[in-house]
């Protein structure tokens, strides 16, 4: 089996340590580098990576390291959007989190903060968890990190926009640390917009304390020539809520790992995702929901719309611990295959060790329903419009669940961008 050491990684260490000057961070990077050398690249023999070839991603990543691609993007040059009561804009470009206006006190970046102890603790916490070559690469290549940390009882109305962009091909390694204190709430919108052949390898740690609520929105767009990887680890304490609405339009390889631990009672997670690859793009969704606390709920609604020669994967595991009585869980994956060449592999799994639970799962895949098409056409609507209507209604059902009106509009506009709005 190949390991990253087979690749020319002589540049990697030097490059990694040159990115940011901080002894504690460079020590962490040295440890990470030593470990990475001993690791294997996940291969198709690993069940979790069965349908996704990681080799081209690793190759591209090392190629970009060797090139030492640094963007010429002038800090803040094209970032003109001003913050307001409703929106705060943060751009991740050129290896840095950039912003036009001053950030509110609950948002800190590694480069602009003197609160390094906090960063050190948070980055190290992750270190105790299971590592993969990709999380290690994120740590090695990171040159900045973002912490969003609410105060107790703080309800933030503004939407925090995190826009990931690049004007050249490069490694992009966003690292987000999000911590919600008791009784607080916040809304975050992560928008991946980098039309070059970048490797985005993001790592997000989320910790929701008692009674807190995080609404997370994410759109992955314009990645046709690049690779996109993301791992999110989410820990939910008593009565906390994590809601996700995401739309992934795909990359050469787009891989989304979401691990949610519902560790205390009454926590709730809702994951709503549309994935719509076209051409030869590939999207792989891997979810692990772990019910540990009692009376927690998890709802997963994953919808694929696959065109051309694209491929998709849904791997969902809902694990219910022996202690997790009164668990409620529903996992669905529905897929529209719009071409004979599009493929989907779906595998929803329930692992239940407590009898007092309500858990369901389902997966369906197929073409557009002929009877529905006939019904719409029989009212005078042409075939291509009728198909468009059916695709839109399939996506729209999920978008309509968004409660925040601004975000709902953003997703609706994205829907119309992908599937022409009917002009009537």
């Amino acid at each position: 089996m190949k390991t990253p050491s087979n690749l020319d990684n002589s540049n990697l260490k030097k490059y990694s340590l040159s990115l940011i000057e901080a002894d504690w961070l460079n020590n962490l990077k040295k440890e990470t580098f030593a470990r990475l050398k001993t690791q294997s690249i996940p291969s198709k023999k690993d069940e979790e990576w069965r349908y996704t070839n990681t080799e081209p991603i690793i190759q591209k990543c090392f190629e970009l390291v060797a090139k030492k691609s640094i963007s010429n993007l002038k800090n803040g040059k094209s970032f003109t959007q001003k913050n307001s009561n409703d929106n705060i804009f943060i751009y991740y470009a050129d290896g840095k989190f950039c912003f036009v206006d001053k950030l509110p006190p609950y948002i800190k970046t590694l480069r602009n903060s003197d609160d390094l102890v906090n960063f050190e603790t948070l980055l190290n916490v992750d270190d105790k968890k299971i590592h993969s070559p990709f999380t290690d690469l994120n740590t090695l290549l990171l040159s900045d990190a973002l912490i969003i940390e609410t105060l107790k009882n703080q309800n933030i109305d503004a939407i925090i926009h995190i826009i990931i962009c690049s004007d050249i091909e490069q490694n992009i390694n966003p690292r987000l640390l999000i911590k919600l204190r008791e009784n607080s709430s916040i809304k975050i919108f992560e928008h991946c917009l980098s039309s070059n052949s970048c490797v985005i390898n993001g790592l997000t740690e989320i910790n929701c304390e008692k009674n807190s609520k995080l609404d997370y929105f994410k759109i992955i767009d314009e990645q046709k020539d690049g690779y996109h990887l993301n791992l999110s680890n989410i820990k939910l304490s008593k009565s906390s809520t994590f809601n996700l609405f995401s739309w992934d339009s795909g990359a050469k390889v787009s891989r989304n790992n979401i691990n949610v631990d519902l560790v205390e009672e009454n926590a709730s997670v809702n994951l709503n995702t549309l994935f719509s690859p076209s051409e030869k793009l590939h999207i792989d969704n891997q979810l692990k929901i772990k019910h540990i606390g009692e009376k927690c709920e998890s709802f997963l609604d994953y919808r694929g719309i696959l065109k051309d020669h694209s491929t998709g994967v849904f791997g969902g595991v809902v694990y219910v611990d022996q202690k997790a009585a009164n668990t409620q869980s529903n996992m669905t994956n529905r897929n529209l295959l719009l071409s004979d060449h599009a493929r989907i592999n779906t595998k929803p799994v329930l692992e239940i060790y407590n009898e007092d639970v309500q858990c369901t799962h389902s997966a369906t895949s197929g073409r557009l329903d002929e009877e529905k098409l006939f019904y719409i056409q029989s009212r005078g609507i042409g075939e291509s419009d009728a198909m468009n209507i059916l695709i839109q209604s399939f996506a729209s059902e999920l978008v309509e669940k968004i409660k925040n009106s601004q975000m709902k509009r953003t997703f609706q506009e994205y829907l119309f961008k992908n599937y022409n709005k009917l002009e009537y």
């Binding site: 006939f374 719409i376 029989s378 609507i381 839109q392 209604s393």
Partner: protein, 254 residues
């Protein structure tokens, strides 16, 4: 009255679905403003006839012709037939969650107008007409913004078919068992809708099992379909006879 005397003229029609012949040598003429009822036992081909007229792709036509306003329509697409004024009220209306009822209707209406070279209807006119028609068939306004037929009861779905019919104003409405699943009150409101269009010279082909609907909408002709053929035609009294004696009586005398 239009120049063409016959609105619809079906001659020697032979249709199969998945290789099985369902309709064989069927002949039928419908004039402007007439109401025809087609009755017959299960499996006699009633729904296939309805779907064939609307252009369902699974119905293969082997022989015969379907002339509508004097023009052969066998080669017309589903949407072209609709724009020409043929409407099919579905026996089992389809649910389309995520598409609102009113957006669907407006898109349909404007698609039809566009194909005729007419301008799109204004939002104000559309909403007014929609409200008026919803009132005629006793449909609550809240249904208009829900997903098409999403979570509607059987009766509500059928009312929604009639609402679509009233909005699209077809010349020929083929209603496939629109009466099934309706209670008496719903049937009366549906009949009101039909009768209001009948006054405006619209024609109807009503496919039904029972004569219940026919007591509210008196047909000009009643036909009995058996094994893909019309075996008996008569006036509205034929429906009453069928109700008394059943279909066996006719089929046996063949």
């Amino acid at each position: 009255m239009s120049k063409e005397k016959n609105l619809l003229s079906i001659n020697n029609l032979k249709v199969s679905i998945a290789g099985k012949v369902i309709i064989n040598d069927l002949n039928l003429r419908i004039n402007h403003g007439e109401v025809h009822a087609i009755m017959g036992p299960n499996g006699s081909g009633k729904s296939t006839l309805a779907k064939t007229l609307a252009g369902h792709p699974e119905c293969t036509i082997h022989e015969g012709s379907i002339k509508y306003l004097g023009k052969e329509i066998i080669d017309l697409s589903v949407e072209e037939r609709a724009s020409e004024g043929i409407f099919l009220g579905f026996q089992y209306p389809i649910e389309i969650p995520g598409l609102s009822n009113s957006v669907f209707l407006k898109t349909a209406l404007n698609s039809q107008r566009k194909s005729k070279g007419d301008d799109a209807i204004t939002a104000v006119d559309f909403l007014k007409e929609l409200k008026d028609n919803a009132e005629i068939i006793g449909m609550d306004q809240s249904f208009l913004n829900r997903g098409v037929n999403e979570g509607f009861s059987g009766g509500e779905k059928k009312r929604n078919e009639i609402l679509q019919m009233l909005m699209l104003k077809p010349k020929l409405s083929i209603l496939d068992e629109t009466d099934s699943g309706l209670d008496i009150d719903a049937m009366k409101t549906v009949a009101n809708g039909l009768n209001s269009m009948r006054k405006k010279d619209s024609s109807f082909l009503l496919i039904t099992h029972y004569d219940r609907l026919l007591s509210y909408i008196k047909p000009d002709f009643v036909h009995v379909l058996s094994k893909g053929q019309i075996i008996e035609s008569g006036d509205s009294t034929l429906a009453n006879q069928l109700e008394e004696k059943g279909y066996e009586w006719l089929i046996k005398t063949q």
